[in-house]
Symmetry: C2
Subunit: 195 residues, 2 copies
């Protein structure tokens, strides 16, 4: 019985797989140890504690998602880039629900300061190049896009759309079209005169 030597990377990868299978909240050191045919305390040589392990999953997910987004928007602009960006998120959230869930929480500094996080900012910025927005509005557009995409996927995941027709896919497409239309005709400041 040959044993692959334990490393933080192996443990975190196993944890991420477990998260995808049973849900992020159910990731437990004992379960991971069992899957790696190891006693639970052995894990503590490589991982500080459970919080650090979960942060590891977050960092992993962030970097995986950034990779996917990068290839999804490469060579595209405008609506196509937006669709690629959004679709990459959605596919990831459906394929790897546990990993995706690990992103929906306040992350530890390790994850926040990772290179993947910085990469992500750059990618979202690149996405907006295809739409010409006043520089001061870029942040708001970024935040809006993030809110809508993440919000949609979150609601889809928790089943908010299960009790009405039609299936989420249809609304998803509509939502992306709406976002594109919005970015194309970004409301100018004059409109804010209303109160």
């Amino acid at each position: 019985m040959k044993r692959i030597p334990l490393t933080a990377t192996v443990i975190i990868a196993e944890a991420a797989d477990l998260a995808d299978e049973t849900g992020f909240d159910d990731v437990t050191l004992s379960a991971i140890a069992l899957r790696l045919s190891v006693q639970t305390p052995s894990l503590y040589s490589h991982v500080r504690d459970r919080a650090a392990l979960l942060d590891g999953i977050t960092a992993l997910a962030l970097s995986e998602l950034a990779d996917r987004v990068a290839v999804a928007i490469a060579g595209r602009a405008g609506r196509l880039a937006l669709r690629g960006f959004a679709e990459a998120h959605r596919v990831y959230s459906l394929e790897s629900p546990g990993r995706w869930q690990s992103l929906q929480r306040r992350a530890g500094t390790a994850a926040v300061e990772s290179s993947a996080a910085r990469c992500f900012v750059a990618l979202t910025d690149a996405l907006l190049l295809g739409y010409d927005l006043p520089p001061g509005e870029r942040v708001h557009a970024t935040r809006l896009i993030g809110s809508t995409i993440n919000g949609f996927l979150a609601l889809e995941r928790i089943g908010s759309f299960d009790h009405s027709e039609p299936p989420p896919e249809v609304s998803w497409r509509t939502t992306l079209d709406a976002l594109d239309a919005l970015l194309r005709a970004w409301p100018t400041d004059t409109e804010k005169i209303h109160r």
Copy 2:
């Protein structure tokens, strides 16, 4: 030492308060028992198990939020109704983070089938009356609004906006204006011809 008799309602209310103070994930039966000056197992006479307790918090939060939304959009239409609706959500999420968090998860049937849930659907529907959308598009608009609002609040809560200027409030206002503009000029089907 007179003791207020334990009931499911009291326990759930205490749990909700605890959730607001220490975070939804940290709601523990022992902590609640301590706060109520009672032994942990005593709670089981009134609450089936932890899952049921959390569902109770969700149902409570749903009904509280529905109440707030109701007064926030009463007598308003269009942009003002949208703002009221959104603002009610935001205030709730900031005032009662734990309760709000309890809504960001797949809920048990008890919460889903509660009258508050049905009330909520009616309220959102009422909100859209002020914008005249083709009937088939109403669902999509509902889902889009929900996605964006919930998504924004979720990102704000986990600190996604902490690393860039300006403060979230500004983007929040912009986001609501954008949503309003979008609903006012809902993209017609012809626009979907692109691919």
